[in-house]
Symmetry: C2
Subunit: 350 residues, 2 copies
C-alpha cells in the first residue's frame, strides 16, 4: 500500500515549498548572528577571500565569490581541499578570510582544511545548517543558515539559505543593511506558484538522456546547481557551462537532440547571454529559458521571473523552478528524488 509517507518526492516538494519561510527566518532570527560575524570580519580587514565547499554548497560558494569580486573588489578563490588534505600544503593565509560552506558541516576534508587555515593565520568562518557540527566548531566564526532539518538527499532549502546568508553577511561587511533582500520571501512564494507550469515542462524532458545548462556571472552558479539537481534526482547527464566557456568547445556537443536550459535574468548576466543564445540558435538548439520575459521571446519556451530584482539576488529566485523541474522530472521517470540511488545525505570525503 502506498501512503502519503511513501510518495516519491514528498520530502523534496515540502522542502522546496518551505524556502520563503526559511528566508524570512534568516532575515529576522538570523540577523544578529550575521551582524556579529560581519563585525569580526570588518575588524580583521581581510585582503583576500577563499572559499571551501563541495557539491551544492560549492555552488553557493561560487555565488559568493562573484559577490566578493564584484562588490568588495577583493581577489577571491575556491580552494581545492585536496591541496591540504592529500598533498599536505600549509599556505601562508595571513590577511585571508577563509569561508567554508556546508549543509551538514560534517565532511572531514572541509573540517581539516578549516583547521589548517586557522593555524596558517586565516580568519575562518563556517556557514552550515547545523550549529552542533564539527565544521561549526572548527571555525573562528559560525553562521547558522537556520533552514531546519533537511531530509531530502537532494539539497534545496539549504542551498538558497546559504545564498541568502552569504549575501546578507557580505552586504553587512561592506556597510549595507541588506534591505533589498526583504522582498525575497514574497517574490519566492510567487515564483513557486509556477509549479503546475513546471510540471508540464518536465514532461518535455521525459526521455532526454543529456542536457546542458548555461548562465553567466551570478547566474552561472544557478546553471551549476540546476545541473547537479538533475543529475542527482533524474540521473540525466546534465552539464553546466558558463555562457563564455560553452563557446570554447562544448558547443560542438549541442544539436537539436540536446536540450539547453539557459538562465537569462534581467540584469547584466542575462544581457551577456545574448551572443550565446545566437550561437545556440545557429546550432538549432532547443533552448528553454528561466529569467527575464524579454529574453525568453525567441526561445523554445521559458519561465518568466519577476522583474526589478537586483542582479545579486536573482539566483535565489532562478533556482526555484529548476528545483521543481528536477523533482517533477525524477517522478515522471519513475524515480524517487528523496532517495537517489548511490548517495547518502552526508558525504564524507578525505
Amino acid at each position: 500500500m502506498t501512503t502519503t509517507l511513501d510518495l516519491p518526492g514528498r520530502l523534496m516538494a515540502a522542502e522546496i515549498a518551505e524556502q520563503p519561510e526559511v528566508w524570512r527566518r534568516l532575515l529576522t532570527d538570523g540577523a544578529a548572528a550575521i551582524a556579529a560575524a560581519s563585525a569580526q570580519i570588518v575588524d580583521r580587514a581581510p585582503r583576500f577571500v577563499l572559499f571551501v565547499a563541495r557539491g551544492t554548497s560549492d555552488h553557493a560558494a561560487l555565488y559568493a565569490k562573484y559577490l566578493v569580486e564584484i562588490n568588495h573588489g577583493l581577489p577571491a578563490g575556491l580552494v581545492s581541499p585536496s591541496t591540504m588534505t592529500v598533498y599536505g600544503a600549509r599556505p601562508d593565509l595571513r590577511d585571508v578570510l577563509y569561508i567554508a560552506v556546508s549543509q551538514s558541516g560534517g565532511s572531514p576534508d572541509l573540517v581539516r582544511s578549516v583547521e589548517v587555515a586557522r593555524q596558517q593565520g586565516a580568519l575562518t568562518l563556517s556557514i552550515t545548517n547545523n550549529a552542533e557540527s564539527p565544521l561549526a566548531a572548527a571555525a573562528d566564526i559560525h553562521v547558522d543558515v537556520l533552514a531546519g532539518a533537511e531530509r531530502s538527499v537532494a539539497a534545496t532549502k539549504s542551498y538558497t539559505a546559504e545564498l541568502l546568508a552569504l549575501y546578507l553577511l557580505l552586504e553587512r561587511v561592506r556597510g549595507g543593511d541588506g534591505a533589498e533582500a526583504a522582498a525575497l520571501p514574497d517574490l519566492g512564494a510567487r515564483v513557486l506558484e509556477s509549479d503546475d507550469l513546471v510540471h508540464g515542462v518536465a514532461q518535455r524532458y521525459r526521455f532526454a538522456q543529456r542536457l546542458i545548462t548555461t548562465g553567466r556571472g551570478y547566474s552561472y552558479p544557478t546553471a551549476r546547481e540546476a545541473a547537479l539537481k538533475l543529475m542527482e534526482t533524474s540521473y540525466l547527464s546534465a552539464q553546466a557551462f558558463s555562457g563564455a566557456d560553452l563557446l570554447h568547445g562544448p558547443l560542438a556537443t549541442v544539436d537539436p537532440q540536446v536540450p539547453v536550459l539557459a538562465i537569462v535574468p534581467e540584469g547584466a548576466g542575462g544581457q551577456a547571454m545574448a551572443p550565446v543564445l545566437s550561437r545556440l540558435a545557429e546550432r538549432n538548439a532547443d533552448v528553454f529559458g528561466v529569467g527575464s520575459a524579454a529574453l525568453l521571446e525567441n526561445l523554445a519556451g521559458g519561465i518568466a521571473l519577476p522583474g526589478g530584482v537586483p542582479d545579486a539576488l536573482s539566483p535565489l529566485l532562478e533556482i526555484l523552478p529548476l528545483q521543481q523541474l528536477a523533482m517533477h522530472l525524477a517522478i515522471a521517470r519513475g524515480e524517487n528524488p528523496d532517495k537517489p540511488r548511490g548517495l547518502y545525505k552526508v558525504t564524507e570525503t578525505l
Copy 2:
C-alpha cells in the same frame, strides 16, 4: 578523391605526436625567457596568485593553481572574467600575480581583464602560443610556449606546452631548476607508443553517448581536459568530476551503461582515488584507468604510465593517451576531430 590532406584527424594526430619535441624546445630555447620572467616575479614577491583562462587553457591554469597552493603555499584563485567585463568590477590587486593563459592570446575578455588587473596594481603575466598576440602585449611579462602553429581546432600540443611552461616558471620562482622535467620528452615519446592500444580502446566507446572522467589533485585538470577533448571531437556528453565531488551527487548518474575514465597516477592524487574506485565498484561502474599499473588491477582496463614521475609532472603524461582516445573515437564515429562542428579555432568572448 580523398588525399592524405583530407584524412580526418590528420592535424590532430600530427600535433599529438609533436609534443615531446615541443617540450624539448621549451626546455632549451624557452629557458632564458622563463628565467627572466621568474626573476621579475620574485622581485615583486606576490602574496596571492590569480589565473584567468578559458577552455583548454583553463585546465592548464587549474593545474598551475594546484602548483601554487601546494608548492608555493600561496592562496590562489581562478578569476571569472565576467566580473570585470560584464559587471565592471575594479578589484584591489596589489600584491597579486595575475596570470592569463591562452593558446591564441586573442580572446577580448582575457585581454580586457589583464588590462584591468594591471591598472589595479597586479603584476600581470601572459602565457600564450603567440608572441604577437594582443594578450602578449597587454601583460607586463609574456612567456611564449613555443608550441608552433596549432591547426587542429582541438588543442593538444599547446595544452601540454602550457603545463610545462607553468611548471618551469613556478619551479624557478621557488628557486628550483626544473631538472626533473628533463626526462619528460623521452617519457612522453614512450607513452605515445600506446597509440595502437588506445585505438583498440576507442572502439569500446564507439556507441557511448555519455561518459564520466574523474581524478583528484593534480590529475583533476587531466580529467577536465580529457572530457573537453571528448566533447569537442566526438560530441560525447563527457563530464569531469574531482573524485571527491563525484561522491557528492553525480555518483547517482553512474550505472553500468555510463563508462568512467579514472586518472590514477602513482602519487598522492592516485592514492586518494582508492575510496572513489570502491564506491564506483559498488555501483558496478565500468571504470577504465590511466595511471599506475598497481591501481589499474581491479578495473575494466587501463593504460599504465611509466613509474617514478613526480606528482606535479604526471599530468603531462596522463593526458597523452586521452588525447589519442578522443581522436580515435571521433574517427571511429565518422567525425573529423580537426574541424569540430560549430567551433572556431579562436573563440572570442566578451
